[in-house]
C-alpha cells in the first residue's frame, strides 16, 4: 500500500504495543461515543449522542447549527468530559488512557483552529515527541493542500483557508490513529476542499478512523463512507 506522508501507517498500527500502555481492548475498533449526555451553561446540549467512527472509513457528522457537533467532537479527545455515556478508542475507555497519549492518538482539528506563534513549521513541530523531519513536514503540508514553501512562513499571517490547512497538516503530522475535524472545509474554496477530501479518503484508506462535522451535505456525501446524525443513525438522502 502506498504510504501517505512518507509514513507507513500499517506498521505503525501494528506497532501499537510500543506505546506506554496497551491501548487495544476487546471492544469495537475506532472511536465510539455511546449515549453521551452533556450539559453546558445549565442546558443539556448533548442528549444521548451516539457516534461510531470506524477505522478505514470517513464518517461525516451532520446536524443543525447549535445541535452540539463541536461539543461531541471535543468529547472525543477529552477536552470535554460527558456527564453520562462513554467514549472508547479501539475498545478502551478514553478515561483509561493517559490524556496526552489520547490526544496524540486522536487528532482534533477544531472549528476555530489557532495558529501558535512562530512559523508554519513551528506549528507542525509543536509538541511532537520526536524531531520533525523536513520530509515529514513537506509531506504533511502537501497532504493538506499546501506546498512546502509554506513551512517557513509566519503562521500568524496566513489567510483563513491557509490556516485551516495548516491545522490539518499539524494534526496529520503527529500520526494519529483517529482524525477528528470540525468543519475543515468551511474556509476553503471548492477545489481545495475537494483536495482535502481526497486526502481524508486516502488517510482513511490507510486505516485511520476519520470523522468530520460538516454543513456541506453534497460534500459530505462525496467524501464520506457514512453520513450520520448525532443519534448515530445514517442521514437519509
Amino acid at each position: 500500500m502506498k504510504s501517505v506522508l512518507g509514513i507507513d501507517w500499517e506498521s505503525r498500527r501494528r506497532g501499537r504495543l510500543t506505546y506506554d500502555r496497551p491501548v487495544t481492548g476487546d471492544g469495537p475498533r475506532g472511536l465510539i461515543a455511546t449515549d453521551v449526555w452533556l450539559a453546558r451553561g445549565g442546558r443539556d446540549v448533548l442528549r444521548g449522542a451516539t457516534l461510531a467512527v470506524p477505522p478505514g472509513a470517513v464518517t461525516a457528522l451532520i446536524a443543525p447549527s447549535g445541535a452540539g457537533k463541536s461539543t461531541l467532537l471535543r468529547c472525543l479527545n477529552r477536552l470535554l468530559e460527558p456527564d453520562r455515556g462513554t467514549i472508547t478508542l479501539d475498545g478502551v475507555d478514553v478515561r483509561e488512557l493517559p490524556p496526552r497519549e489520547l490526544r496524540h492518538r486522536v487528532g482534533l482539528v477544531g472549528q476555530a483552529p489557532v495558529m501558535l506563534d512562530g512559523s508554519v513549521r513551528d506549528n507542525l513541530a509543536y509538541g511532537l515527541r520526536s524531531p520533525l523531519t523536513d520530509d515529514a513536514a513537506a509531506a504533511a503540508l502537501t497532504a493538506a493542500g499546501l506546498d512546502d514553501t509554506f513551512a517557513a512562513r509566519s503562521a500568524q499571517e496566513l489567510s483563513g483557508g491557509e490556516r485551516a490547512r495548516v491545522a490539518l497538516a499539524r494534526a496529520v503530522v503527529r500520526r494519529p490513529a483517529a482524525l477528528v475535524l470540525d468543519e475543515p472545509t468551511a474556509a476553503l474554496d471548492a477545489d481545495v476542499a475537494r483536495q482535502v477530501g481526497a486526502t481524508l479518503r486516502s488517510l482513511a484508506a490507510e486505516g485511520l478512523a476519520v470523522c468530520l462535522a460538516i454543513h456541506d451535505v453534497p460534500f459530505a456525501r462525496a467524501v464520506a463512507d457514512r453520513v450520520v446524525g448525532l443519534d448515530g443513525l445514517p442521514v437519509p438522502s
Binding site: 451553561g41 471535543r74 479527545n77 477529552r78 477536552l79 470535554l80 468530559e81 478515561r95 490524556p99 496526552r100 490526544r103 496524540h104 487528532g107 482534533l108 482539528v109 477544531g110 476555530a112 483552529p113 489557532v114 501558535l116 509543536y126 509538541g127 515527541r129 499539524r170 494534526a171 503527529r174
Partner: protein, 274 residues
C-alpha cells in the same frame, strides 16, 4: 476652622466632584465612588484610633496585621469570586509574600521591631500584594476566556494544562506587575510614595525617608511578583480538571463592580456566589 476640619471637608469635596463628573459622563460609577470614599473615611478614622491603641499595647499589632491580611483577601478574593475558594487563595497569595518579606526585613534589622515601624510597612506590602493578586487573577480569567481556542489547540496537540495555559499566565503576571514596576521606576519623578511622604510629614530627614522608601519599594517588587505567581498557580490548579482539561468558571454576574464590599460579603445581589 481647624486644619483637621478643612482637611476632611476638602477630601469630601474632591470625592463629590469625582462622583458628579462620573454621573455626568454616565460611567455608572457614582455609587461606587461615593461608597469607596465613605468607606475610606470610616476606615481611616477607625484605623487611626486603633493604631493609637496598638502603640500603647504592642501585642495588638499581631491581631491588626491578621485583620489587614483578611481584609485584603476578602477584597481581592471578591474580585475573583468566579473561582471557587478565591478568598482563601487570595489570603495565601497576599499573606505569604507580604508577611515573609516583613519577617525578613525585621530579621536582618532593617526596621525596628516596634508597631510604629512594622504596621505601616506591612500595610504597604499587603496593599501591593493585594493589587497584584487582583490584577493578575482577573487578567488570567479574562485571558483564558479570550484565548480559550488557543488553549484548546495546545491541549489537543498534547500539552498538559500547565503548558497550555503558560502564555496566558505569563501575560496575566506581566499585567499584574506593571503598576509595581512603573511605581518603582518613576519614584521621585512622578510620585512621592506613601512611606516617604509619611516619614517626611512625620519629621524624619529626607535621607532617612528615601532610604526607607527604597527598601519598601524594592521589597514590593518581590512581594508582588510572588503574589502574582501564587494566585496564578492557585487559579490554574482550580480550573484544571482530571484528564488535562481546563474548565472555565461562569463569569460572576457582577465581576466588575464592587457591589459586595468586604465588610458585608453576605450582601449578595443575585447570581451564584464564588
Amino acid at each position: 476652622m481647624s486644619q483637621a476640619v478643612v482637611q476632611v471637608l476638602a477630601a469630601v469635596a474632591f470625592a463629590g466632584f469625582a462622583a458628579l463628573l462620573a454621573r455626568r459622563l454616565r460611567l455608572g460609577l457614582e455609587r461606587e465612588i461615593v461608597w469607596a470614599a465613605a468607606r475610606a473615611l470610616l476606615q481611616l478614622a477607625v484605623v487611626g484610633a486603633l493604631i493609637a491603641a496598638i502603640f500603647r499595647v504592642p501585642a495588638l499589632a499581631v491581631l491588626f496585621v491578621a485583620a489587614m491580611v483578611l481584609a485584603a483577601a476578602l477584597t481581592s478574593g471578591g474580585r475573583l469570586r468566579a473561582v471557587a475558594g478565591s478568598r482563601r487563595h487570595a489570603a495565601v497569595a497576599i499573606g505569604v509574600p507580604a508577611l515573609s518579606a516583613t519577617g525578613l526585613l525585621l530579621l536582618v534589622g532593617a526596621f525596628d521591631t516596634t508597631p510604629r515601624a512594622i504596621i505601616p510597612t506591612v500595610g504597604i506590602l499587603i496593599g501591593g500584594a493585594m493589587a497584584a493578586t487582583t490584577l493578575t487573577g482577573r487578567r488570567l480569567l479574562e485571558g483564558l476566556r479570550e484565548q480559550f481556542d488557543a488553549v484548546e489547540t495546545r491541549l489537543s496537540l498534547g500539552d498538559d494544562v500547565r503548558t497550555a495555559v503558560r502564555p496566558v499566565v505569563r501575560g496575566a503576571m506581566v499585567t499584574g506587575l506593571v503598576p509595581a514596576i512603573d511605581q518603582t521606576r518613576s519614584v521621585g519623578l512622578v510620585t512621592l510614595p506613601g512611606t516617604f511622604v509619611g516619614l517626611v510629614l512625620g519629621g524624619a530627614s529626607p535621607a532617612t525617608a528615601a532610604r526607607t522608601q527604597l527598601v519598601v519599594l524594592l521589597a514590593l517588587l518581590a512581594v508582588e511578583l510572588l503574589a502574582a505567581l501564587l494566585i496564578s498557580t492557585a487559579i490554574v490548579a482550580r480550573l484544571t480538571a482530571p484528564g488535562e482539561r481546563v474548565v472555565l468558571p461562569d463569569p460572576a454576574p457582577d465581576e466588575t463592580g464592587d457591589r459586595r464590599p468586604w465588610p458585608f460579603p453576605w450582601r449578595r445581589r443575585g447570581g451564584p456566589s464564588g
